[in-house]
């Protein structure tokens, strides 16, 4: 049985207690997307500014559990200021890390088709930096939807802006 320390790593608790990039950007011009996790009633609002092929700014609002909130916070820190192709790549890598069980779970209704996940061996966990702390979530299958909620919502936002997948 996996232990709680696999799930609640210190970095996760830190981002949960002091989330980065909280709030909403003014929309418009920012793109605003909402995601829902019907399992727990979590709601997330992602607002993003895309400028010159770069994810210039991102903010996260909404409520949720420690896993969904910290994943959103970690995500915002990782993608802010990054070129869009890198953002897409990071989403694919993160979803790949989470995909081990996700395909067997019901859809979370967060919108956006599931990202085509790379082969597990192709996932470069090191490239994820602090995000790798969320790796332990896959041992708790019901919580995977919590971790991927913000990422699916971001994907939906990028799709709306017309960023090529």
């Amino acid at each position: 049985m996996p232990g709680l320390e696999d799930l609640y790593r210190e970095i996760i608790l830190d981002h949960y207690r002091s989330p980065r990039n909280r709030g909403e950007l003014e929309s418009p011009p920012a793109v605003r997307v909402e995601g829902f996790n019907p399992l727990c009633g979590d709601e997330i609002v992602v607002t993003l500014d895309v400028e010159d092929g770069v994810l210039a700014d991102i903010k996260i609002a909404g409520t949720g559990c420690s896993i969904s909130q910290s994943s959103a916070s970690l995500m915002s820190a990782a993608v802010k200021g990054k070129p869009l192709d890198q953002v897409r790549g990071l989403i694919a890598t993160f979803k790949g890390m989470m995909s081990i069980h996700e395909s067997t779970l019901p859809s979370n209704g967060a919108g956006g088709e599931p990202v085509e996940a790379p082969e597990p061996e192709a996932i470069d966990v090191d490239a994820l930096g602090e995000l790798a702390a969320l790796q332990g979530v896959v041992k708790f299958p019901v919580r995977i939807k919590c971790a991927t909620l913000s990422w699916n919502t971001l994907t939906q936002g990028l799709d709306e802006v017309g960023v090529p997948a």
Partner: protein, 420 residues
């Protein structure tokens, strides 16, 4: 003439002894004895139920109703006896004719919306629901509203989770249906069903009761409740999954068209049409959940042997203990939803604890072997009214005791320290 006063014996039960009848409760999780506090979602089954189903399967199973050979006849007799037993358990005036077996309570409520609703409701008609209904008694009406253009009206609750009845006459004015839960699966609130039924009938409405949470925990008498239709699920009352019950007043059921079509529900089928069967089979298309009906019958026998008065008395005492223990230990750190008095509610205790998300609470509690539910409990309109996305919910049953409540309190304390 001297009057003899009979010695009054308070109904009682010993939960720790009863718990031994439930094999699952002997299980360990993460190296600790399991503390099962999620009976409102689904209860555990006693050996008597498991054995009855196995014995039936091993000795008697055949399809019901059409067979002429011995075991088919026996299977039919046992299936119909289970039906009558369930009817008797809830005080049905005509137990053999008024109990319809469905897949679960949700299907029973869909049956009502479909068969009754489509026969009787037209554009502009009003269906009144309470703010504390489970989605199972909301969504079928929403679907009908979309199709028929009927109006949904809501009976509000107050901050203690009780129905506000001040404006009842106005809300019921012109209503064709009152859909009401006997006991909230989130707040534990026991609603004044008999009073509401009388008011609804005076307004000309039919009363559809969701008794999922009340039938397993309180003595039930459909005549005293005064409702017209009543739904519940076997898996919340010590029985198996896969079978639910719709009780309906005989005359009302007789007036209804079928729900699903197929075998069992017909008297005759011709190339130019069909003749529906008599009640209750008219509403039971296809092979019914036979083994499950045997299991439900055994669950009813088990509850009868314990005594529903004793179950209720036990749960009032234990709920009172739990409310007290949680309040004493956590004070303002815990917000318990629903009425504060144990007598006004069942053993369903939803709460918010500090600002820890219910999902995280439930995850930490699991580490201590404590099973509670976290989420919206299929009552999203109620969640919105309470101003939360989700709650944690501990729910009690006849096999729980003070030791279980103490385990909950200790595990919650640990969750508080973890997220401090």
């Amino acid at each position: 003439m001297a009057e003899l006063t009979p010695a009054t014996t308070e109904p009682s039960l010993d939960a720790a002894t009863l718990a031994k009848d439930f094999p699952l409760l002997a299980r360990e999780v993460h190296g600790r004895r399991i503390t099962y506090l999620d009976s409102a979602a689904s209860s555990q089954r006693p050996t008597a139920v498991l054995d009855a189903m196995r014995e039936y399967d091993e000795t008697t199973h055949a399809n019901v109703h059409r067979g002429v050979y011995s075991i088919a006849e026996e299977a039919t007799r046992r299936f119909e006896a289970a039906r009558a037993n369930v009817g008797r358990f809830i005080g049905a005036p005509h137990p053999a004719r008024e109990i319809v077996f469905t897949k679960n309570a949700t299907e029973a409520l869909n049956l009502v919306a479909h068969a009754w609703g489509r026969t009787h409701l037209q554009r502009g008609d009003v269906v009144v629901l309470t703010e504390m209904e489970h989605h199972a008694n909301i969504v079928p009406w929403h679907m009908l509203a979309a199709e028929r253009g009927i109006e949904l009206r809501w009976l509000p609750i107050d901050d203690d989770g009780r129905l506000v009845l001040d404006d009842l006459d106005r809300v019921l004015d012109g209503a064709k249906v009152l859909g009401i839960t006997c006991m909230s699966n989130v707040l534990g609130t026991l609603n004044p069903v008999a009073e509401l039924s009388a008011a609804a009938h005076a307004a000309g409405a039919v009363v559809v009761a969701d008794a999922c949470q009340s039938v397993p925990h309180l003595p039930t008498d459909v005549t005293a409740l005064g409702v017209d239709l009543l739904a519940f699920s076997a898996h919340k009352m010590l029985g198996p999954t896969g079978i639910g019950v719709l009780w309906g007043r005989e005359s009302l059921l007789e007036s209804l068209p079928p729900f699903l079509g197929g075998g069992e529900m017909i008297l005759d089928v011709r190339k130019d049409g069909f003749t529906p069967n008599d009640i209750p089979w008219r509403f039971e298309a296809g092979t019914p959940p036979i083994t499950e009906a045997i299991g439900l019958g055994a669950a009813v026998d088990y509850l009868d042997a314990v005594g529903m008065e004793a179950v209720r008395a036990h749960e009032i005492a234990l709920t009172g203990y739990a409310l007290g223990a949680l309040g004493d230990r956590f004070g303002d750190d815990i917000r318990i939803f629903g009425p504060p008095e144990a007598e006004a509610r069942g053993g369903v205790i939803s709460f918010a604890f500090r600002d820890i998300h219910p999902h995280d609470i439930s995850q930490i509690l699991d580490e201590y072997g404590v099973c509670v539910r976290a989420g919206h409990h299929c009552a999203k309109p109620l969640m919105r009214r309470l101003g939360v996305n989700a709650t944690a919910r501990a729910s009690l049953a006849l096999y729980n005791d003070e030791h279980d409540v103490d385990s909950l309190v200790e595990a919650l304390d640990a969750a508080g320290r973890f997220f401090a």
